[in-house]
């Protein structure tokens, strides 16, 4: 990545007719930026591969199904209690 950029930069410089001094100046300006860009990509480690794979959606799907199942159970319990409350009132 860095190399190809450098090569391209050299090519451009050649066509622009800049000397070695110009090249050194450009490198001085560009290199810190390149380094910063490289750092932000490797920063603190996150589960980027999992996200890139799309496998994270498998996890999301599983958790959603489990949560939905538990909530459905709670809803059905709620309804059962409502029915019992009604029955007890009618008697």
């Amino acid at each position: 990545m860095k190399n190809s950029l450098l090569n391209r930069g050299l090519g451009i410089l050649g066509t622009w007719g800049l000397g070695l001094k110009g090249l050194a100046l450009l490198l001085a300006l560009v290199l810190p930026v390149l380094r910063a860009a490289a750092q932000s990509a490797t920063g603190p480690e996150m589960a980027d591969a999992l996200r890139h794979d799309g496998k994270i959606y498998v996890v999301v799907a599983v958790i959603t199904v489990v949560l939905a199942g538990l909530l459905a159970l709670l809803i059905s319990l709620d309804r059962k209690v409502s029915r019992l409350e009604k029955e007890l009132k009618d008697n």
Binding site: I56, T64, L67, L77, V81, L88, N91
Partner: protein
């Protein structure tokens, strides 16, 4: 059905939190890494616990003013739900600590304060189960509940801030300063707090209704 809109809201919010909590972008921080997402699950436990324990105390005070079986049951079931959420909060915090601080438990003021507060609430359950007379049980546990709340809340929220602590939100370690800037996290965190709190109220409500039904059936059998 009309008065159950908040239960539908609970379902929607919790499903949203499960999906967005895993998929929404989070700040890239060292040590925390992806575990920062625990903020959507561990912290709302304590929020939910606090709100439901406030409800429990309100029912206890109302019971002492006008003693009814309903108020006693409501305050008991609310406290039980709060204790459950507190235990889940301790367990999730312990897991999180293991993978960020490197230990299941550490003698941190915030952690020990929370543990002591949970023990105080555990004593509420023990106290309650040690009475045979129902009115005496209701009255004494309502009074104890007020004292437990007044002791537990400073242990959770005040004392840990007076000393140094590893835990965010204690000592010189503000809880949300780091995340406040991140509006992406707020988009999930606030719904998570509301959703889990509503779930606590829902669980307490269903449990209370079952206890009340039991009480009514019991009264009918006596009559």
């Amino acid at each position: 059905m009309k008065k159950n809109w908040w239960k539908a809201l609970t379902v929607l919010l919790l499903l949203y939190v499960a999906v967005a909590g895993l998929l929404m972008p989070v700040p890239r921080l060292a040590i925390l890494n992806e575990t920062i997402r625990n903020l959507y699950f561990h912290v709302p436990m304590w929020f939910g616990m606090t709100f439901i324990l406030v409800a429990s105390v309100v029912y206890s005070i109302r019971y002492l003013r006008h003693p009814t079986v309903e108020l006693d049951i409501l305050s008991h079931e609310a406290a039980r739900t709060g204790i459950l959420m507190g235990c889940v909060g301790l367990a999730t915090g312990s897991i999180w600590a293991k993978y960020t601080w490197g230990t299941w438990w550490t003698n941190d003021p915030k952690l020990n304060g929370a543990a002591i507060a949970m023990l105080i609430y555990g004593a509420y359950l023990v106290l309650r189960s040690s009475f045979t007379d129902e009115q005496q049980r209701a009255r004494v546990s309502a009074i104890y509940n007020i004292f437990a709340f007044a002791t537990a809340m400073p242990l959770f929220y005040i004392l840990p801030r007076l000393t140094d602590s590893l835990h965010p939100g204690a000592g010189g370690n503000p809880a949300f300063a780091k995340y406040d800037l991140d509006s992406n996290m707020r988009l999930v965190f606030y719904p998570a707090v509301i959703g889990w709190t509503l779930l606590a109220f829902w669980l307490a409500q269903v449990a209370s209704r079952i206890s009340l039904l039991k009480q009514k059936v019991y009264e009918k059998q006596l009559a």
